[in-house]
């Protein structure tokens, strides 16, 4: 019975039966490959995040509701964590690089917690990044020749070795989010001491 349950678990999570609608775990950062530019113009990629715990999430700056809410939520969590976040990498990756240039990302992140970085890449590098994080996004036309982006709004946590360490759901209350981040920070301290 247990074997059957395990088998069903495997079949659903990794096997051929994995339905597209079930969120998959991001790869370890060490297995991802993509190149982007951060808000100050430096070349960055998944290996840039190794050595420190990190928080990564996707969005776009033409997003009026979900993205400013996520950036505000994260800014609040970081305020709560205080000095503990000094060595943490917090990265906002745009899914809309056609509008989100390096300059646009730089201005946008400047309104939030100073630890938050803004990364943008080409369309193909954006696709490679999203694939590594198992994130999805889609361009959707709106009224008046405009478009918006549907996108994964979860926040991903990684430890300093780049191992996936958990997800914070969109708009998760601070009392749940902050302890999750703190656990990753504590684990990293134990590993390094």
């Amino acid at each position: 019975m247990l074997a059957l349950a395990l088998y069903i678990g495997w079949w659903q999570v990794d096997g051929p039966g994995a339905p597209e609608l079930v969120a998959q775990r991001p790869l370890p950062l060490t297995q991802m490959e993509f190149r982007m530019t951060d808000q100050v113009g430096s070349m960055v990629g998944p290996t840039t995040l190794l050595g420190n715990p990190s928080i990564v999430f996707f969005g776009f700056t033409y997003c009026p509701d979900v993205c400013p809410t996520t950036l505000s939520d994260i800014s609040g969590w970081l305020d709560d964590l205080g000095d503990g976040v000094a060595d943490m990498d917090v990265v906002f990756i745009t899914v809309d690089p056609e509008r989100d240039t390096v300059a646009a990302m730089a201005e946008y992140v400047s309104y939030f917690h100073p630890a938050i970085q803004g990364w943008s890449g080409t369309l193909s590098e954006t696709a490679r990044a999203a694939a590594g994080f198992r994130a999805s996004y889609e361009k959707v036309a709106t009224e008046g020749d405009d478009y918006t982006m549907n996108h994964t709004a979860s926040v991903f946590l990684f430890d300093s070795e780049g191992q996936f360490a958990g997800t914070i759901d969109y708009h998760e209350p601070r009392e749940f989010a902050v302890p999750k981040i703190r656990r990753v920070l504590t684990r990293t301290e134990e590993e390094t001491s």
Binding site: A23, T61, P68, H171
Partner: protein, 154 residues
Amino acid sequence: MKPSITAAVIASCLFIGLPTTTVADSEDVVVENAWARASIGVNRPGAAYMTIRNNGTDSATLVGLETPLSMMPDIHETKTDANGVSSMAPAGDIMIPPGESVSLEPGGLHAMLMRPQIKMVEGETFPLTLNFADGGTLTVDVPILGISARGPEG
């Protein structure tokens, strides 16, 4: 005799029906805690939030928005699916039962301000008119808070 009774019944129904269907509903609607975030330039759509309370005895139906700030204001709803993917779409008409309220708040319903005409500057306010199904309107001044505001208190 019969036809005239029917006519009288119809006439009295119309007379009694008039106040409840065309006057009473949106007059008792109030808006609380309205706020919006400042914008970067005028290319990005904005969003405004508020609580709309119906203190009346009949339901009120919000059917549209108007504001000089935006060419295309509309009520949108953000939804996040089981996979964590967020999307938003026009919410259609919003019915508010008597004695109840509807909250427009981050991650749910919002007044989507598409095609902005004016930059939304922190510290300023802008007028937003709510149009109701009975033809009634309600205009509120929405305070513009910082880009990183989380609620009506900032």
